[in-house]
Symmetry: C2
Subunit: 434 residues, 2 copies
């Protein structure tokens, strides 16, 4: 121990955030709230391993996300025989694989929530993380999934987000069938380049969007019809060009009608929402923080997909799901609106139990035990130091109450409210928080 | 959609377990309980990234655990400039790094709990996992850490484990100073080979242990004294050979004295417990499941270490900690004593809301909303199918109550208790679980 030690000074790893205890307490409160809302709608929890076989992840074809694969540091001859494992980059692929693998043990419609970390090996940049937590809900059914679930999703996530006290939240909803129908009616065969361009409508000027569409070979009439559609916020003004578009409008109308109980700002139809991902086939969602205008990204997105697990099982499994980008959301508020986090104590204790002297350890411990049995969180002070020092510890940790077991020959317990400074007699068997 | 799809049939990945929803519900109940106990003693939560820099993990020297390092699937020229990242194999190295890195922002004694996944790339075998959850508590202080924390640890984990309903649990406690003192008095300079052998005492016969010690060059007198010590369960029968041994006995006695409030079987002094890890310097803990005799491993282990973060910061930071091998514990009970898991429903819902007809969707949704506001977990049935089908769904999912909004012209709500079969009138604003 006497020798001079070699010290490796640790630093933060870019893209892999961690929080101080007082921030973590708020993060936990958020996660608990979201979980409680998900469960209040009857969704069950699952967790999947952090890894999938690389063959599972790529079963649908090339993945455009940056994937981390695992390598054992001390490889041996067996390593090459094993399947390559990769950290999952979302919770949708694991859900599809899980549903296929456990198909016979699940009850459908399968309503599950999943709150786990995911990993993306992308270059870290502002707001981009390489490891982050997502909170997903999805419903999957065999063959046919009622549209009512498309309307339930926004209700649930609105309630989940609204309870976080992060200002006004707005869900923007569209239905891809509407744009797909229009593109069909305009004779545009491959919709993918167009949807990719429309997806950028929040970030670019109208002129830029027009230019991009022109470069795809669209004519003025086509471009103007597409842009008109993307700007539509009132469904009643839309005239369907074909059956697909008509179906999309009806579906979106049904979803909006079923969300009328939410506040006016909470949900809007917005036909510029297409989502980049090709697997969405109907309803699509994005979510904006109206009171954090400096952040324009979507904090909660998803949609309806016709065929979730077709790469893993010979069943037709339609689904609808939505995902809260939890870590991103937490970090945006943490950086832009720290006041909203309401950062407080550094530990969960309600009460610090004073240890007046070594001889009174047993009394103090017993009192702490009685209070814990009654549901209070009680930290024992660790050494019979001066009371002033013990109070200052409670203050530094943000513990709201300090308990004094009887001391200096007294008979009575006392409790000090650190907020008001008031100190009163108290009985560990009956005391309640004021 | 019409073409024949290529299907990649997924299978379980050895060493990476996942559970069905009904098992996950029990796992969550366990995790919630453990967290509640940890917090009731005032421990704060932290989470660290899943990765550390490989240089951080190996800062103390060679690691004998199998480590997974991350590789980006699509490496570019930047990849080589980045630090190599490895998944953490325990929560102690991350805690040490975290404490050093955030030293100035933490209040000491720093009491934290951490419930995360860890990874070990070892060959999977019965009971060994490559990804598993640990539930750790540790206390770290600057320079000096009161012994009372060594006594608090067993109290906390006993309460955490006892509440899981897994039969009788026994903590076995020793203090490494006792054996170290004896070895010093016997003139044995390097204690490591001896402690490694004593650590196997549960698995081998006494003759085998004797043979191994003989192979280390120990004589009959030395061996007999060491074995006598290891068999001691009564501290009062020990006579200290030197100051170190005396100090160890006193410390262990203090810890045992402070645990007298626990049931008789809950804590025993057991001098055969040494723990293989060299960094423990005082108190050491192991935990046995007394009612699962077929499993002899320790489900919860830890101890006191003199210098936690010396590789990362030039401070003397002693600590004491204990770790519940959560996934292993859950899996042992799941496989050996499935009856104890009390596996029940497949989802958390209290109530299934019947949807009598499409026209009554609004009434049903509103009723569900009122019940949720009152704290109930309510799943909406998704389609206006026959009531019999809706009841059978509730039964399959294990939902205990089914709610009927007024239908067929009636005015009254009714609720059916799926357990008793009883169906009664109920008001969504006043109904309570019987």
């Amino acid at each position: 121990m006497g020798e001079k030690k070699k010290i490796y000074k640790p630093k933060a790893i870019s893209g892999f955030p961690e929080w101080l205890p007082e921030e973590r307490l708020v993060e936990q409160k958020w996660l608990d709230h979201i979980r409680q809302v998900f469960e209040s709608y009857g969704f069950c929890s699952i967790e999947t391993p952090s890894v999938e076989e690389l063959d599972v992840i790529t079963a649908k074809g090339e993945v455009d996300k940056e994937i981390y694969v695992l390598e054992r540091l001390h490889k041996d001859e067996d390593s090459d025989k094993e399947a390559r494992l990769a950290l999952h980059f979302d919770q949708t692929v694991p859900l599809a694989r899980y549903t296929a693998q456990h198909f016979n043990d699940l009850v459908f419609p399968f309503k599950r929530y999943q709150m786990q970390r995911v990993w993306r090996g992308e270059r870290p940049q502002m707001g981009r993380m390489r490891e982050f937590t997502q909170c997903d809900i999805d419903v999957i059914n065999v063959d046919n999934l009622p549209l009512s679930f498309d309307a339930e999703m926004p209700s649930i996530v609105y309630e989940a987000l609204e309870g976080l006290n992060i200002g006004r939240v707005q869900l923007r909803i569209s239905n891809r069938k509407i744009l797909m129908g229009l593109l069909q009616s305009l004779g545009i065969e491959d919709p993918t380049p167009v949807t990719r361009i429309i997806d950028k409508i929040e970030k670019l000027h109208e002129g830029q969007i027009e230019q991009l569409l022109k470069e795809e070979g669209l004519n003025t009439d086509q471009i103007s019809k597409i842009l008109n559609l993307a700007k539509t916020k009132e469904l009643s003004t839309l005239s369907p060009e074909n059956d697909l578009m008509k179906k999309g409008i009806e579906e979106l109308q049904f979803v909006m009608d079923n969300l009328s109980h939410l506040p006016d700002h909470a949900v809007v139809a917005d036909l510029s929402i297409v989502r980049g991902l090709d697997y969405y086939t109907g309803t699509v969602y994005e979510t904006q923080l109206l009171d954090v205008p400096e952040f324009t990204g979507s904090v909660c997105s998803g949609g309806r997909y016709d065929d979730l697990a077709g790469s893993y099982i010979n069943k037709h499994l339609p689904g609808v799901g939505i995902s809260i980008g939890f870590s991103r959301l937490f970090d945006v508020i943490r950086q832009s609106r720290r006041d909203l986090l309401d950062i407080g104590p550094k530990c969960p204790a309600d009460i610090l139990m004073v240890l007046p002297s070594a001889e009174q350890r047993e009394t103090a411990t017993q009192t702490a035990r009685s209070l814990r049995k009654r549901g209070f969180k009680v930290e024992m002070y660790h050494a019979p130091q001066k009371v002033k020092k013990q109070l200052s510890y409670a203050e530094k940790k943000g513990i709201p109450f300090v308990w004094f077991p009887p001391f200096e020959g007294g008979q009575e317990h006392e409790i000090k409210n650190m907020n008001s400074g008031e100190q009163t007699q108290a009985d560990p068997n009956t005391w309640e928080k004021p």
